[in-house]
């Protein structure tokens, strides 16, 4: 219950408070730079986080394959499944 209430509150705090008003230009600039910072942090934590330590494991292979495919301009959906397949393949060995 508490978990539900707090995540609902956290998600809605910004939109409920601001209610569709435009952000001031300075803040908009911050948001523009926040997206890449947050995306990079998500990539790092979901690839390297081994529970309070950095680990290099099978996920890194999948993300590496993803990086290569992205460079080749492969569609995102193919990239996502290829990353999963590569990780599964390494794990199965």
């Amino acid at each position: 219950m508490l978990v539900s209430i707090s995540t609902m509150a956290l998600k809605s705090a910004g939109p409920v408070a601001l209610g569709g008003r435009e952000l001031p230009p300075r803040l908009l600039g911050l948001v523009a730079a926040m997206a890449p910072a947050l995306l990079a942090a998500l990539v790092v934590t979901q690839t390297l986080d081994g529970g309070r330590e950095l680990v290099l494991d099978d996920r890194l292979v999948g993300v590496g394959v993803a990086a290569a495919l992205i460079a080749l301009r492969v569609p995102v959906i193919v990239v996502v499944f290829a990353a999963a397949a590569a990780t599964a393949a390494v794990r199965a060995v």
Binding site: T7, G14, L18, G19, V43, V44, R59, I70, A92
Partner: protein, 220 residues
């Protein structure tokens, strides 16, 4: 501006592959929660109302390990703390009466937010809602299957599905690196997260990484 069906469909189309992955994790959450003593109904209700995979897995795992309610809630809240800045970033496009804004905000997820991100601080509201709704249906129906039917797919990690999420975020990140400031913010954000993982509780590295956007503010 009303919500257009075309916009919602664009978001759903961008998210369908991910929805398959999310459903698989929904099944494994349903299995984990019911096998650690949660009732079937509370498990399903939690997926509908909390709708944040990482927070739910953390809370249930801690409860199962005997960590106590306070620890479980604290871990879940820390993991959801990133929705503060995320919610702020999309706030300008969530325009409606208050109850509607509140409901629409619940469709904000890492994935729907990333898909709706147009770069330069702009977001496509319809894509956010379309992607969020599809992923929500996938998550909840996965949970129902796992809670009622048990373990039908095994561990999603055997299929490498945990690597699907960073792959998506990497693709979306690289697509919107334009100019020095975004590159600097991305590198800083990644470094901050990596540096904090060994020391901070889960969730904190991601929140702290958002402060990387302050880099170059004076010049920006």
């Amino acid at each position: 501006m009303g919500i257009t069906r075309a916009g919602l469909l664009r978001g759903a189309r961008a998210a369908w592959g991910l929805a398959v992955v999310v459903a698989a994790f929904g099944v494994s959450f349903g299995v984990l929660a019911t096998s650690s003593g949660f009732g079937t109904l509370p498990t399903i209700v939690m997926s509908i109302t909390t709708f944040s995979g990482a927070s739910q897995f953390a809370a249930v795992s801690i409860l199962e390990a005997g960590g106590g309610v306070a620890a479980a809630v604290a871990a879940a809240v820390l993991l959801a703390a990133r929705y503060g800045p995320i919610g702020l970033s999309v706030a300008p496009v969530i325009r409606a009466r208050l109850p509607i804004r509140f409901l629409q905000s619940q469709l904000i997820l890492d994935e729907s937010w990333a898909i709706a991100n147009q770069g330069g601080g702009r977001f496509d509201r319809d894509m956010l809602l379309g992607a969020g709704a599809l992923l929500g249906m996938a998550w909840v129906s996965g949970t129902v299957v796992g809670a009622l039917g048990g373990d039908i797919i095994g561990d999603p990690e055997t299929l490498g599905l945990d690597a699907a999420f960073p792959a998506l975020f990497l693709a979306l990140l690289l697509s919107q690196l334009n100019g020095r400031r975004t590159v600097v913010a991305a590198i800083l954000g990644g470094l901050i997260a990596a540096a904090l993982i060994p020391f901070a509780r889960p969730g904190i590295p991601i929140v702290m990484a958002t402060f990387a956007c302050l880099a170059g503010l004076r010049r920006g």
